[in-house]
Each structure stands twice: as structure tokens, then as C-alpha cells.
Symmetry: D2
Subunit: 342 residues, 4 copies
């Protein structure tokens, strides 16, 4: 039985509490939030869980094995550092930290302390992403040529992070999970319409050595909600529409072959469109899968699907996107990774 | 009665012939195409039109008042120059030319010769774009903050121009038509998957002094066809889905206001979502509207909706996008216009 | 403060408990269910509510003011009769009873005992139905000519009632709520594919003296879920798609006028299609609105939106549909109402 | 080479002319229409075809082998009778005739005269219907349990036939084509909103001995256009949405099995939902396929896909639907067929 303490009972906190409550071999002992009304809300729904005011009460509780941190990103590093230093296993909400430096520090500290450090990239536990991963690993799509994601809606303007840090982590975690190649550079362009430094619309391109291109369109100011990703291989292509209630994934037997006609100095392209296949997806709740992975990886001392290394990759791309935006979209080369992704 | 000759009877040519055939005060005298099977096809459907092998036969025909050029882009300049020099009115298919230099040369030549030079940006004549223009001019949307366009499908790979030159002119012409502001720079990133220099996927951002941002997602390698544009004002927003058979335009009474809380150093944002309105659109054929505009502007010596100045603006952005793509997405500042757009 | 007891903690019970828990001036004292695992489940989520095995413990509890009955339809009558006889206010799940006779008996008993008898037709409390009611009452649609409803999916085959009794009550309650006219007859045709007497597909037509026609397509054996209703007036028409996340109601400025050309013995019809309007809907939870209506009608001694009279109307149509199905679809005239609907 | 004359150049006539023009081994010699403006229109597009005023000029033309009749239904019988009597092959637009008696007379006459009599049920030649036929014949769906069709829009009110005779022939021809069972009865209910005897909304149920039920929802007064058919087998189910540009047919691996629990007097149902498959469809023009079938069946003396027997079946159901509507929806048993369908 793993005793869990959860820090932060805001928008996402109740979902975490509910799922860790339901997870196997896990007991939610306490939840910390400085706001009295949030703790009162907690007490009404989960009378057996202790509500505390200070994160410290969880981080220092000798009873607690694992700490879940669901607070604003800017506080992730200091809370996680203390918890890791106290020998707690740590689950961080996405994005992992505000910088690559912080993320690398935490990864090293967790290794030293021999505890688990994990990042909650919930999408990796959805039936849709698992099916896509399976199809891609099974070579159904052939060689991946592009990933194109649109994640827009009329969203809550964040006051500490821009729209890429808010929305792109979902798609970047999917990219890292399903593509077995390291990106070499990014370009990003964004704009703020609220007279501050925080972009509410931004476009990010991630470039790969093989010619794979990934693009992310993020906005808090769209009148319609769109959650759409295209993944194109040279054999087949996937349309992933997360708003479809059941038909989230469509696999198109669509592609093209080309040959270079040396004489005419032309490229000859053969097109192919065929059947479409809509696989049935697992419908288990993704967040429960994530909670169970966290608990069982603690117990079995192994790395989870949504590892700290993957969390670091996401932060590395986000950090580079900041630099590109501040430099009018110029290409920013990603530094070589100092921590190898297993 | 204006006598018209049409050069090029390929993919788009039959549509031009059919609509100039139906246009007011207009006679299609001859059509030029070097391919015998195309002329045979012409003869079957339009037995009264003369098919000729050489463009020269049209350009030099003293009977012909106006020349429509529907050939590959690389040939636009030389054909149009000859026709203008011969005192013909000229309609060019989009994009107008391969370079800003060529476009400016033709504009100057047409002014000198006192003939009409026009570019066929057909979309400007659709009920959808006309309704959007009307709403924006009527201040329904407030101040325009962004335009976001996706135009993707499994498309014919062109052998002379990349995907931006092929697909983006439609959306760039709409941008120029509905926005009363000059862009100052572009960023573009693209990739070729056919081992040549011609990008089949590309992303273009057009930046404006006011903070308006416009983004264009173009691809020949999508398994699904998407024709979607979002235009966001600070009062209302438009979703334009050109694939909807009747409900192409949706006007969302959606917006947000913000205030800067100086003390807390925070931006406070108020959101608003209200009713949606789907205006009825005119259903006249856009291409016929374009043909009629060309003929009547010749007769009345005035400038058409889809003017050569607008055509030049589109080429200017495309040319800059080329430079940005070849420089890994770096910002390219648009030169000051040498020809004022009226 | 009204003390409530809830009988039945199956599929719908937890929703009732949760919403009566949240309702104003209301305390959920106890819940009855014969199944130990259901009561255990209750205790886990609502530790303050008493779980009891027998409905009698609720019906005879002098502390309890109002009884909510969420059990199979066949048990509604005997449970409600006992509760009413004991002076309790009663809320019945839909459909109200298995027969008109039972429903009329309960209505008379409630009047005699001066307690409230109400039926939970939840849809009447949705933002969508409230908006439609408002538009129709405001004469926006003109005279109502038809209502056409499709409610199909791969559904749980019920063992005691057929698909009409299971699915149509929602749509019939909407019909009764928004149309101010008494139907005079019904036709219904159905089929069972499970070798018993319980139809899994059925079609119901409800005929009105004015020429208004209402049609209901219900199935448990559709591969896709459809929840669609068309309401056509002679001025405007409504499309109500309950599966749309936000745009549930579309109001079409569509109609036609006709004139009889006496000479030609022909009808001349003028068609009209105009703008579409998608009103913003209230997003409060319908079931909570229903619970609040029940409680406040008890307190203020008035009739609720979802009255027992309306519940009776629904049962009257369902009972007639049974007779029609058993007689190969022949028209069944609805008997004159013995209880006037206020 | 078969010489064809076409009678009627109204709404559908130009499509027939265009496709017989393109058909193999076929020459369109003349077209008859009493309206001068229609003949003028013909001359503009097809200068080689002779326009004539009277149908007689075609029916009596010794040069003409085959007559295509695209006039109002009420004239089908007399025109076809004359043409057949003159030894012409005849193609009738749908519905074949105004009554079963007429249809049977024509079928007998054609047999006597040894000429081909065919009905243009164009849908049988679409890629969608051909794929459904192939799937059903290949036992992919198992035993067919239901067919449910909705064909509604704001449509032209016909002055001679009701909405069922206008819209249902398409769906009834598909029913007859894909289902290998004779229906035994129909129920229909309809309403007129134009103060004449011509229903603008009608619902038709066709009942089969095996328990298969087919239902048709037809309306000229819907604000939205719907063309949707569900076909449910006990193994798989099909959704056919004719308005989808490419994904018209979806095959659902969805079904249920049941067993009768004798002890509990209950039916136990097992549900199954699996993958969905969207087959690629042939995109050849259906009307051209029909025209080619007509010509080649004349040449090879064989029966076409869209035979006169199938046309008769459609009329038989329509005639019975009239009787049911005029008798308030009562079941009308279909008479035993006097002409065996091969």
C-alpha cells in the first residue's frame, strides 16, 4: 500500500484525488491547498481524506510515500526538490518544470535518492494514443513524414505561462512517445493580445533530421474547440480527432509513391486512396491508468510510460520555443541531450 | 461586346471557357492549347469556339480585345507581357507571376498601355468571402486579431511550384481583401518529401504591425480534405468552412475583454460566448462573377475587385515565404510597396 | 427543509441522490435497495445517507416528507400508492406507470391526500427544451406542423418494457410540453428480434386534429447513436441535436407559403430559406432543476413543470401505441381525458 | 449502334441526354419537349441533336430503336404503351407507372413484343449501393433485421404525386435490390399541409414474413437535407449517408446475440461493438452506368440490374401505401405477385 499526498486542489486536483482514490494499492492520506473553500469542498466529497493548508505538511509527513504536485508550474521545482530530498516519490503535473535546467536537476536528484520521478502526461494512457503507438510500432504507417496538431478553443488565459506551455505539452508528449527520433530544431511564432508577455496564440514547428516535420497550432482565442492531429506515414495516415465520442482514430489507407524522372528532371508521384479503418479503442479512464502506472512503478522499481525523461524532452522543446518566439521565429537548435532517454 | 481569347485548356481552362461563354457582353472567340486532345475536347463541347495551337495566334489576333492566361505560372510573365504590349486587356490565373519584379513590370506596362490587368482570385467573388467582407467592413467583428487558415488534402504534387504557391494564394487573396493593413514580415517553414526542392508541406505566418497574426497551413499530403479559416476579432469571430454545403460561415458572438491589474501585475480576462449566427449566402457561381467583373471593368475603365495590386501583394508574400523557407524559417521583412494599393 | 427518501439505487439512482443532495432546502435521509453491493457503493460515496433494504422502511418513516421512486416501471404503482396513502409527496421516474388506469388512480389519490405527485421527465429542465418552449410560445415558429424524432442506439434491451416505453417518454414529454393541442389518435408498428413480446424497434405516429403530425423512431439496435428532433412551423423550423456538445438547437428561417390556384386546380408553393440562428443555451444540470422544482413545489403547494398530468399524457400515448402494435399498426383513437390538464 | 430518342427535357432530361451522349454504342437522335425554351436550351448545348415538339415524332420514328421517357408519371403508361406497341425498347423514369395494373400491362406487352422494358432506378448503379449489395450477398451482415431510411429536405412540392411517390422510389429500389425476400404488407401514415390530397410528409413501414422491418421517413418540409439509411444485420450493420462526399458507407462490426433463459422467462442479450470499416467506393457516374446497362441489355437481349420487375415491386409498395394512408395507417397486405421476379 502506497500512501499518497496531493499538493494542489484546484482545477485538476479533484480528478487526481478521485483517480488515486480508485487506484490499486494506494491510499490518499492528505491533500494540501491554501484556500479554505477548496479544502471544504474536498471534505464534502472525500470525508476520509485529511485537508492541510501547507504543502510542507505533506512533504514532511513520514507516513507519506509519494507526493503528487498539481500546482502552478513555477512552483513545481521547489516543491519537487524538497519532496525528493525527503525521499518521497514524486509525480509532477505537466509541464514538468519551467526550464530544462530545473528538470535535469530533479532527474539527477531522483536518481541519487533512488526514488521515482514521473510526469503526468495523461494522454499517453488514452486508448487513442495507445492504439496509434501500436499501429506505428507495428509499421502500419511506414515511415512517419509529418505530425500536424491543432489544439484551440476559447480557453482560460494563464497568467504565468503562454499558450504553448499550457496546451502543447499534450501533443509534444504524444510526439515524443510515438516517434523514435530526436528533433534537431524548432521554430515558433506567437502573439499576445493582452498587452503582456504571454502569447495567447502560437505556432510551433519541430524539425527532425529525417525530414519529419511536426507542427503545433495552439490558441486560447478560438470560438470553436478543435482537438485534431494528423500523422502521415508513407504507407498510411491517421486522423486523430479527440472530440469524436467514439470514432477518435481513423486510419486511412492513403499514400503516395514518387520516382525521380532523371531525364525530364521531374518527380513522378503515384497517389493511392483506399479503405478507411476505425479501430475500437480501450475506454478505460486515462488518468486512472496513469495513477496505476505511478503506483506500480514505485512498487516494482521501474520506469513508467510517462517518464521524467519524456517530461524533460517536452520542456526542452518548450524552452526552445520561447527563445524562437523572442527572436521572431528564428530556428533554435536543440542542445544535445545530457541525459540519455532510455 | 468584348472578344476574348483563352490561353491554356488544362484543368481550369474549361471552367473559364464555360463562364466567359455565359458572361455578359462577351464572346469567346478562340482557345489556345498545344495538345491536340485538349482542342478536340473543346470542339466537342463548344463547336463555335476556334481552337488554335499557339498562344501567339490569340495574342496577335486583331479581333481579340482581351486575353485570359491559364497556363503554368512560369509562363505567365512572357505571355502577359506580349499581350499587354499588343494592347490587349489581360486576365492572369493565380498566382499572378513567379516574382514581385515580374508583377510590378506587368502592372507598369498595363498602366502605360492603358489596358486592364487583372488576376483571377476567384474566391473574392464567392458568397462566403463577400459576406465576411461585409461583416468586417460593418465593424461586426471589431478589431481583427488573427486569421488562421488550413487548406490541406491529398493533392496533385506540382512540378514547378511548391504547396504554398499552389494553395495559399486563395487564402492570401482573402487576407488582403478583408484586412485593411499592410503586413510587415513573414516566417515560413516547409519540407519536401519527394527528394526535390519543392515543398509539399509548408507553414506560413504573416505578421502585422498592429499585432494581427495570420497563419496558413498548406499540405498536399493530408488524407482528409480541410478548407477551414478562423477570423478572430475582439468583438466576434468567424468560422469559415468551405466544405460545408450550405453553412459555410458561422459568426460567433464570442470574445474577451482584458484589463491590466497594475497592483497584482496580472491581466484580468473576461470571456463571453453567445449566440451563433449562420448567414444565408449568395449562391451565384463565383467564376461567373469574376468573368463579369473583368468584362465590365474593361468597358467602364475601372479597377476590379480582384485587382493586379492585390495579385502583387499575394506574390510579394509568396516570394518572401520562399526566402524564409530557404533560411530555416527566419523572419523576412516585406519591402515597402513601390506601387500604392488604392 | 424537506426530508427525502429514494427507492432504487440502480442506473439512475446515483444521479438522483447526487442532485437531491445538491438541491436547495432538501436533505436525503435514506436510500433503499435490496442489493447489498448497491448499498455498499452508496456508503462509500455518501457516508451520511442511511442505506436500507426495504422500500417500506422509507415509505413508513415518519421523518420522511417525500419519496423518490426509481425502480422498474412495473413496481411504480404499488410503491407510489403506499407512499401517497401514507401522506408522502411522490416523485416517480418516467414512465409514470404501466397503464392509464394506474396513473389516474395515483393522480386522484394525491389530490385526495393533498400531496404532490410528480413525474421525472428530466428533459423538460434542459436548456435546449426550455429554449424551444420559449421560441414556440413566442410564436417564432408560427403554427407547428410536425415534430419528427429519432432516438436510436445500441441500447440495453429491457426485459419488462419495449423500446417505446423505454425511449419515447423523453420525446413524448417534450411533445406534450411544447405543443398546446391534444392528439386524437396514434399508429405504431414494431418488431421484436429476440423471440419474445418486447419490441426492440418501433415507429410511432401521433396524430392531431389540426393536421400536426408527430413521429417517433426508436431502436435499441442501431450501430450509431442518434438523438435528433425536427420541429417544423410554418414560419421557422428547429433542428434539435442533443448529441451536439454546444450547438444543440438550430433555428432555421425556412418555410413555405402556398396558395390554391383554383383555375389550374393546383397548389402554388413559395419556398423560403434564410439565416440560421444557434441560440446560446443555459447549461445548468437538468436533473438538479427537476429536483429543485420538486422541492419548491412541495413548499409552495403548486404544480411542477413536469406534472403528473403530463406524465399521464405520456402513458396514455404509450398505452395506445401498445394496442396499435398488437393490431398491426391500426389507428387507435385516444380516449377523452378524464382528468383535465390545467 | 442503338438510336435513342428522349421524351421530356425538364429537370432530369439534360442529365439523361448528357449520359446517353456519353454511353457506348449509342446515338441520341432526337429529344421531344413541348416547351420551345427547353428545345432552345437543348440546341445551345447539343447542336447535333434534333429537337421535336411531339413525343409522337420519336415514338413513330422508324430510325429510333429505343425511347427514354422522362415525363410526369401520369403520362408514363400511354407513352410507353405506344412505344412498345411500335416495337421500341423503352426506358421509364421512376416511378414506373401510376399503378400496378399499368406496370403489369407494360411488362406483358414488352414480353409479347420481345423488346426491353427497363426502369431508371439510378441508385442501383452507385458505388455505395453496389458495395452494400456485395457485402450483403457475401453474408458480411448476417441475416438482415431492419432497414431504416430518412430522405428529407425542403423539396419541390409535386402537384401530381405525394412525397412517397416522389422520394421513396430510390429507397424502395435499394430495398428490393439488396433484400432477397418478398414483403407481405405495408403501413403508411401521411399528412398534407397544403390543403389538397397530396401528402408532403409521410411514413411508410414495409413488413416481411421473416421479421425484417423496413421504414421510410419522407418529407418535403425539412429545413435540413438528410439522406441516411441504416441496414442492420445480426452480424454487422451499415450506415449509408449519401451526403458524405467520400465516406458514404460505414460498416460497423456491431451486433448482439440473445438467448432465452427459460427459467427466468427472460431474454439474455450480449452486445458487441468493434471496429468500423469505411470501404472505398467506385466513383463512376451512376447514370452513365444505367445508360450503358440499357444499351448493352438491348444488344445482348438480357435483363438489366434495374429491371421492369423491380420497377413493378416499387409501384406495388407505393400503391399499397396510398391505400394505407387513405385508411388511417391500417395494414395493407400486398397481393401475391402475378409476374414472378426471376
Amino acid at each position: 500500500m502506497i500512501n499518497v499526498g496531493i499538493i494542489g486542489y484546484g482545477y485538476w486536483g479533484p480528478n487526481l484525488v478521485r483517480n488515486f482514490f480508485a487506484a490499486k494499492d494506494c491510499r490518499v492520506k492528505s491533500v494540501a491547498d491554501a484556500r479554505p473553500d477548496r479544502l471544504q469542498q474536498l471534505g464534502k466529497i472525500f470525508p476520509t481524506i485529511i485537508g492541510v493548508k501547507n504543502a510542507e505538511e505533506i512533504i514532511c509527513d513520514p507516513d507519506i510515500d509519494a507526493v503528487v504536485i498539481a500546482t502552478p508550474v513555477s512552483t513545481h521545482f521547489s516543491l519537487a526538490r524538497k519532496a525528493l530530498a525527503n525521499g518521497k516519490h514524486v509525480l509532477l503535473e505537466k509541464p514538468m518544470t519551467s526550464s530544462v535546467e530545473e528538470a535535469e536537476f530533479l532527474i539527477n536528484l531522483a536518481e541519487q535518492k533512488k526514488v521515482l520521478l514521473m510526469v503526468d502526461h495523461t494522454f499517453l494512457y488514452t486508448g487513442a494514443v495507445q492504439k496509434m503507438k501500436q499501429l506505428i510500432d507495428g509499421q502500419e504507417l511506414g515511415s512517419i513524414k509529418y505530425l500536424d496538431s491543432t489544439r484551440i478553443n476559447l480557453g482560460l488565459f494563464q497568467s504565468d505561462i503562454n499558450v504553448l506551455w499550457d496546451l502543447a505539452p499534450h501533443d509534444l508528449s504524444i510526439l515524443s512517445h510515438i516517434v523514435n527520433e530526436q528533433p534537431y530544431s524548432v521554430n515558433a511564432r506567437g502573439i499576445t493580445h493582452t498587452n503582456n508577455e504571454i502569447e495567447n496564440i502560437a505556432y510551433l514547428t519541430v524539425n527532425f533530421p529525417s525530414g519529419l516535420i511536426a507542427h503545433f497550432n495552439c490558441s486560447w482565442t478560438s470560438p470553436v474547440k478543435v482537438r485534431m492531429m494528423l500523422i502521415g506515414g508513407d504507407q498510411k495516415m491517421i486522423l486523430y480527432n479527440d472530440l469524436e465520442p467514439t470514432e477518435k482514430i481513423k486510419v486511412y489507407d492513403t499514400g503516395y509513391n514518387y520516382s525521380n524522372d532523371e531525364e525530364k528532371k521531374q518527380v513522378m508521384v503515384d497517389y493511392r486512396t483506399g479503405d478507411i479503418y476505425v479501430p475500437k479503442l480501450a475506454t478505460t479512464e486515462a488518468l486512472l491508468g496513469m495513477a496505476n502506472d505511478f503506483i506500480s512503478c514505485i512498487q516494482e522499481i521501474k520506469q513508467p510510460l510517462s517518464s521524467s525523461k519524456l517530461g524533460l524532452e517536452v520542456v526542452r522543446i518548450l524552452e526552445a520555443s520561447n527563445e524562437s518566439i523572442k527572436n521572431q521565429g528564428k530556428e533554435v537548435v536543440l542542445e544535445a541531450f545530457t541525459i540519455p532517454v532510455s
